[in-house]
Subunit: 327 residues, 2 copies
Amino acid sequence: MNLDLEILKALRAPDGGWVSGSDLSRALGVTRAAVWGRIEDLRSMGYEIEASPHQGYRLIATPDALHADDLMARLPGDRVIGRDIRVFKETASTNDMVEKLARDGAAEGAVVFAESQTRGRGRLGRSWSSPAGQGLWFSVLLRPAWRPQEITRLTVAAATALRRAIRSVTRIETEIKWPNDLLIQGRKVAGILTELSAETDRVRYVVLGVGIDVNQTASDFPGELSKVAGSLRLALGQRVDRPALATAVLRELDRDYARVCHGQFQAIAEEWESGCSTLGRTVQIRIGDRRLVGRAESLDPDGALLLRTQHGHLECITGGDLTLEKQ
Amino acid sequence: MNLDLEILKALRAPDGGWVSGSDLSRALGVTRAAVWGRIEDLRSMGYEIEASPHQGYRLIATPDALHADDLMARLPGDRVIGRDIRVFKETASTNDMVEKLARDGAAEGAVVFAESQTRGRGRLGRSWSSPAGQGLWFSVLLRPAWRPQEITRLTVAAATALRRAIRSVTRIETEIKWPNDLLIQGRKVAGILTELSAETDRVRYVVLGVGIDVNQTASDFPGELSKVAGSLRLALGQRVDRPALATAVLRELDRDYARVCHGQFQAIAEEWESGCSTLGRTVQIRIGDRRLVGRAESLDPDGALLLRTQHGHLECITGGDLTLEKQ
């Protein structure tokens, strides 16, 4: 048994109330001294836990740092995504770590967070800035029994899940920029990188990478980034509780993944379309050397963008660089 | 400079004739004694090389073992596939080795052969028997700038290339069983496993794995395999020169890969269709729990099978297990 996880679950259960030490020791099957030892350890990790000889323990405040046990304690027991969570202080790329887990046969739903990434990746091989403690950088392992071309649906589902999670924790409305960015007033605050390993006709695994700029200030964005990047803190005017946001995101991702797996992608696509600032606009898409201009009309059943070109044709676009044309 | 490679190239050039030792030493920029030393080493590896004080060296016979230098010496200089070749005595899976090369940034065209595999893989996670020295088990790294769904074209191109190579070396006509098997009189003699790593909208790399049963005898196929597997030797009644077949396959693969990259997939698809015993037949395809029965009609532009179902619909099939219905 993971004592920290069980103690944190118990402390959260009464919603600010007291948990008696003897109840805890009975429920966990360890001595009251052992419970006390774990409480002391949690305190040293930044958890403010009040202790009273008569009433027991009470959780007053939690640190902003990510702890795997704490994240798991906040999630529902029947989840797929987040059934196993690991948090690293620093790694090259959480997508690389989850790819390694996948190759070693890990079950779907494993999640790896890093407080910072030294070689974080964005789409098309671009780098992704991931400074320590400022955002959420994590990757999820999934093993859907799909064909490779159906994977675009995951990026769409992840965008709607992220959007709901951000709204629930901060009340901020973000807009979706196709295919995988969340913006606030035109500034990018989150991105999704979906990578897959497959045979020709079946997916072996998918690594869904998520990056959210949470608590950066303006001076945290160097050079060119300062013109296009934003953070939830900048939009909200105050710091955002990262562990609370992390668990909200995992909960919503788990929900939307289940919806896609149960044939409810259409509902997600409609939610996506209602939050998307790209649809209905004239856009330019660069795909390698090719450049397409047209009106972004809707999503197709697999999550690809349907573009009405200048010549009136409808093209099905699964990737590329999109810019909005001036109106 | 790779001396073995250059000496083998020179010995093959005059087509059975003599190459003078002094010409060799001049061309390679080393002493005649150094040339002699390399010739002795090649002899110890099984190359029969005649030496004459007046005429020089002459290649009489080559071993059946695979040597990277020898394979490269036989291939054209402007190739992509086989620009780098490695041969291992034994490995778990050549696809795994090439995947590792890919992650380490190797250029496309790298090829890894193994004389035997301990955990060779077939499609859908099945195992592939790869006994030492009996067949050709190898994998090719490719980095086409395609979308994931276009990768089926590689499997189609590889099947036509394998078929031509087998015909050129053995005069045997094989038939293609969709999607990736070559058969002789209903027995499987070769298979192709195409694995890819991709972002949603672009391929990062493809590992094309090839297995050819070359010199097995009937007693080499254990249990269930003995009912369905064959070898080129069993069909031909004599052993087949594996290095000659290996270079023929790489040459044809290189040619067909260039054709696909230059927009000539349609010609390959037609060649594939003419060699395919599946088209025009009533087939049953199992895809997971789903079971489809229909007439295999043709390939679509991306290399998927178009199946006319019992209900008259045309379905586009990218994978699954196919069996021919009794006629």
